[in-house]
């Protein structure tokens, strides 16, 4: 079923499709869906111009639940499909929805390259640190020790961090958010949408069935203030219930530490100010893990450069500029040709090499 966009501003609910939602009751995906509908309304997205592309997984069912265009493709390949869409029509507003397995296990290569090329898409990586759809095997983001059907003794692999990985690929926009933070998530999504180029948003998403509470140690209400830091460009890196804590560089090192400014000789000005254009700072923030350090949320890095598909289009535009309709006869008669049946055989085109 399709929604013909009315003239007046669309409400979040207008972005919902008529399909029954088939996630487990309580799944974090519901909250993300809500935040996305909200964001689409906030940014005034035109449904006919908006495309959601996904791979395979619970997360990847996302496009079915929106009234926009949607393509539920194959496992891991959504970034490649999205790249093709943008090459065909750079004006489309393309979102990718992927899971931690989809994006970082089978799809790691395409993630690398879409970020490196800087194709203008929003890439939402629903990280539940597990394979939901295939019933609970560990994923590349699962923490060491995770017991699953394929790791009955607990996983022995070091997990990859989506944000750290993205920074390593040269991504120009990297953010992190939590599924249920409806105050925060739409804002981050809107920033991603505003960014021209590939924007990666890692969304920590609770899988109630196979990995319930895996983020509870820093998302639970009681600990949230102390175990999360919401970063904002140009603002000091403060957190805690009353903002009483801050992050500074441990003097003489390249490491972050938590300080209580005002306390024990730590000056307010020692606290680092978030600079989202600083890749090194972004890396330090992205690598923080609880309980020793708070989890960094918000836009960790944003430093735009021209997007890939616009540059491709510019090359084609430059080449076609001034041409009228493509002339096939001219194409075929490039290079050396000769004529038979004329008074004598002769070379038609001058030598070109």
């Amino acid at each position: 079923m399709s929604v013909v966009a009315p003239i007046e501003k669309l409400q979040p609910k207008h972005y919902a499709s008529d399909q029954e939602i088939r996630w487990c009751p309580g799944c974090g995906d519901y909250a993300i869906l809500k935040a996305v509908e909200r964001t689409l309304a906030d940014v005034g997205a035109r449904p006919e111009n908006t495309v959601f592309v996904s791979g395979i997984g619970c997360a990847a069912r996302f496009p079915y639940y929106l009234s926009t265009y949607g393509f539920h493709s194959i496992h891991g390949r959504a970034p490649a499909i999205a790249t093709g869409i943008k090459l065909a029509n750079p004006d489309l507003d393309v979102w990718i929805v992927s899971g931690d397995g989809d994006a970082l296990s089978i799809g790691g290569n395409h993630l690398l390259h879409i970020l490196r090329r800087n194709v203008d898409v929003q890439l939402l990586l629903f990280n539940n640190e597990i394979y939901g759809l295939t019933k609970g095997q560990y994923s590349p983001t699962s923490r060491a020790g995770t017991r699953t059907p394929s790791t009955p003794e607990g996983s022995i692999e070091a997990p990859v961090s989506a944000a750290v990985f993205a920074l390593g690929t040269g991504a120009r926009f990297v953010a992190r958010a939590v599924d249920t933070q409806q105050k925060h998530l739409p804002g981050v999504l809107a920033r991603a949408h505003a960014h021209k180029g590939a924007s990666l948003v890692e969304i920590l998403q609770n899988c109630v069935v196979y990995n319930d509470g895996v983020f509870a140690s820093f998302t639970d209400r009681e600990v949230a203030a102390d175990r999360q830091i919401h970063v904002e460009h140009g603002k000091p890196l403060r957190f805690g219930a009353d903002g009483e804590k801050g992050l500074r560089l441990r003097p003489g090192t390249l490491e972050l530490e938590v300080v209580h400014p005002g306390d024990g000789g730590v000056a307010e000005t020692d606290v680092l100010v978030h600079d989202e254009t600083n890749r090194t700072l972004a890396g330090l923030l992205a690598r923080m893990t609880p309980p020793a350090m708070p989890v960094a949320l918000g836009v960790l890095y944003c430093d735009p450069t021209p997007s890939y598909e616009r540059q491709v289009a510019a090359l084609v535009d430059a080449a076609t500029a001034g041409h009228k309709a493509p002339d096939l006869n001219a194409l075929l008669r490039r290079g050396h040709t000769w004529t038979v049946g004329a008074p004598r055989r002769e070379l038609d085109t001058p030598a070109k090499g």
Binding site: S2, V4, A5, S17, Q19, E48, N49, V51, V53, I56, P63, Y64, S67, T68, Y69, G70, F71, H72, S73, I74, R77, P79, A80, I81, A82, T83, G84, I85, K86, L87, A88, N89, L92, N109, H110, H113, V312, V316, T320, H323, P326, D327, L328, N329, L331, L332, R333, H336, T337, W338, T339, V340, G341, A342, R345, L347, P350, A351, K352, G353
Partner: protein
């Protein structure tokens, strides 16, 4: 046999030949491809029909003098229609011992060897793996060997040009070309012009090249040796009037894709990952941006096919191209295109396998992969190009069928036709049938999988169109609404519809032509793809002998033409030559229960005409 018997009949003074096969062979650095290209153009201008085949080394730049660094260029030209680049070689120009060693086996008994003895020093002999000089013993007894110190003669000719010895040496291919021009009475002027143009910024080099060309030619005119060589004319062929271009399959394929997209009035997004021998299509299209072509070098083959699918989804015609191993990687993606019923063109420039195999050698062994190589019941259209120029037509056909039926189309080419060339009478593009595609716009009653009752194609509704927002994907979908469906009967119905849609494509095929011979009889030779030339000439030769042989050549591998079964059943025997261990034959036998027999060759080389002739004879006598 084409060309092969030619020179044996030659007498000293400009003997007229029906056709001749010449091969230039030398080190990778000797410029043999360029030399061959010049000879080809001069020959075309002389009015011959011709076919060429380059044989590059697998290595980028193998050590000088090594056997695996030998680069060769073969041309078959004649006063009659030429169908292959020639079974055996009449004249071999061997610029060093390795070139002689590698190429000798293809020269027929009595053939002419023009050897640059200046390059037959001990070091080069050793590098070629000779423990003694082959020119000094009986090994070449059956051939007419002309030893010339081309290296020295070139240096001598250029001694006043001011070129360094190294620079002068690089002109020796032109010396050789000059001599061959003399032998075959070719005009040098276009080559002189071309050299002057090419080395505009280095006029001394240009002058040296021209001087070497002229010196080689003069050597033929004056040297006492010329009597041994013989001098020939090959009369102009009866070629239809028109503008001609000598086209490789790679070039024709790229142009055909541009033409297809233009005729469909669609943007083309060509997505590929480099691989031998397919990369040339990417390179060619990357230079055609003025036709609005977008090329995308993807990170791998999977990304390439998926980007092409994305492009088609967004309303362009997505094309992807690779060779065997890369096509294998695309299988899952192609299945997605088939399931979502999006147009997609997949070009496979086949090469010898399995696995990496012999990347620079040709084979036709991906027919199975094309027809069957995906999970589940996943039919699609498979076409095959038969010659370099035919790549143009089949590429247009691929775009047309893909968009008309909303289906992936696999287009099979191979390493041979990718690199081989033939003169092509350039068609007038204004006469091409256009098939403009209009994306779906009607919102009333729109359902993404509502099929056209005739073609069974679903509507091509693309993002950006208000009111047609919908979702597609690889999960089975409802026949009516397109929504995800696990309904058992629906799956049956959709599977049947997918099969029927592809089968239905055959309804629009013209009746299967018989290329040569009668539509019934004792034997038909049935081929597909690049075996066209040798089969056609072999059957032609046999028919000239009075044998009742027919040649049938398939462009449509899947679905097969509807009348093919009846046609085949009218022959007593069916012979299927393939450069594989027997793949098309599996289709013919299982579809029509005809007792077709295979003639199979997997050496990385095309069939010789003689091989096909012999096999047909054997069947007729059996």
């Amino acid at each position: 046999m084409e060309g092969s018997a030619a020179l044996r009949r030659a007498s000293p003074q400009r003997k007229q030949l029906e056709s001749a096969v010449v091969r230039f062979a030398g080190d990778s650095g000797d410029g043999m491809q360029l030399t061959g290209g010049r000879f080809t153009l001069a020959t075309a201008l002389a009015g011959n029909d011709l076919a060429t085949f380059p044989d590059f080394p697998a290595e980028i730049r193998a050590p000088a003098g090594s056997t695996y660094g030998v680069s060769a260029f073969q041309i078959n030209f004649g006063g009659r229609e030429i169908k292959t680049s020639g079974d055996t070689v009449d004249v071999l120009i061997a610029m060093n011992p390795a070139a002689l060693k590698v190429n000798l086996a293809d020269v027929h008994a009595g053939g002419l060897l023009l050897v640059d003895i200046g390059a037959f020093g001990e070091k080069n002999l050793r590098k070629a793996g000779y423990d003694h000089d082959p020119l000094e013993d009986d090994g070449l007894k059956g051939f007419r060997v002309i030893k010339i110190d081309m290296s020295q003669l070139t240096l001598d000719a250029l001694k006043d040009t001011g070129l360094s010895k190294k620079e002068a040496q690089r002109c020796k291919n032109m010396w050789a070309l000059g001599l061959v021009y003399w032998i075959f009475d070719r005009d040098r002027q276009t080559t002189v012009d071309w050299l002057t143009g090419k080395f505009k910024s280095q006029p001394e080099i240009a002058a040296g090249m021209v001087a070497a060309l002229n010196a080689g030619h003069a050597f033929g005119e004056t040297a006492e040796i010329s009597a041994d060589i013989g001098a020939f004319t090959v009369p102009a062929a009866a070629i239809g009037a028109g503008v001609y271009h000598n086209v490789t399959g790679t070039e024709a394929m790229a142009w055909g894709l541009v033409a297809g997209a233009t005729l469909a009035e669609l943007k083309m997004v060509f997505c590929s990952y480099p691989i031998t021998p397919a990369s040339g299509i990417l390179h060619g299209l990357a230079r055609l941006k003025e036709y609005g072509i977008v090329t995308f070098q993807a990170e791998d083959e999977i990304a390439a096919v998926c980007a092409a699918i994305g492009a088609s989804y967004a309303g362009a015609i997505g094309v992807t191209s690779s060779s065997g191993p890369g096509i294998a990687l695309k299988a899952e993606g192609i299945g997605l295109a088939a399931a979502t019923e999006l147009p997609l063109v997949v070009i496979n420039s086949q090469r010898a396998g399995p696995s990496t195999g012999m990347p620079t050698k040709t084979e036709q062994s991906d027919l199975y992969q094309a027809v069957f190589g995906r999970n589940a019941d996943c039919p699609l259209v498979v076409l095959a190009a038969r010659s370099p120029a035919d790549c143009f037509d089949t590429a247009i056909e691929a775009v047309r069928l893909a968009t008309k039926y909303m289906t992936p189309v696999m287009l099979l080419s191979d390493g041979y036709i990718a690199n081989a060339s033939e003169p092509w009478a350039l068609p007038d593009a204004n006469g091409f049938a256009r098939f403009p595609v209009s994306h779906h716009h009607e919102t009333n009653g729109f359902q993404p999988f509502l099929r056209d009752p005739e073609t069974l194609a679903r509507p091509w509704a693309i993002p950006g169109t208000p009111g047609l927002e919908h979702r597609i994907g690889g999960l089975e979908r409802d026949y009516d609404t397109g929504n995800v469906s696990y309904d058992p009967d629906n799956h049956q119905r959709m599977t049947d519809a997918r099969v029927a849609k592809i089968a239905g494509v055959a309804r629009e095929f013209p009746p299967q032509p018989v290329e040569l011979g009668n539509d019934h009889g004792p034997i038909a030779v049935v081929g597909w793809g690049s075996t066209y030339g040798p089969i056609n000439r072999a059957v032609g030769n046999l028919r000239e002998e009075g044998l009742d042989v027919a040649h049938i050549h398939l462009r449509h591998i899947w679905p097969l033409p509807t009348d093919l079964g009846d046609l085949l059943r009218r022959y007593e025997k069916i012979l299927v030559p393939e450069m594989n261990t027997g793949q098309l034959i599996t289709l013919l036998r299982s579809e029509y229960l005809v007792p077709a027999e295979g003639l199979n060759k997997v050496t990385g080389k095309p069939f010789a005409i003689a091989e096909v002739e012999a096999a047909v004879r054997a069947r007729l006598e059996a």
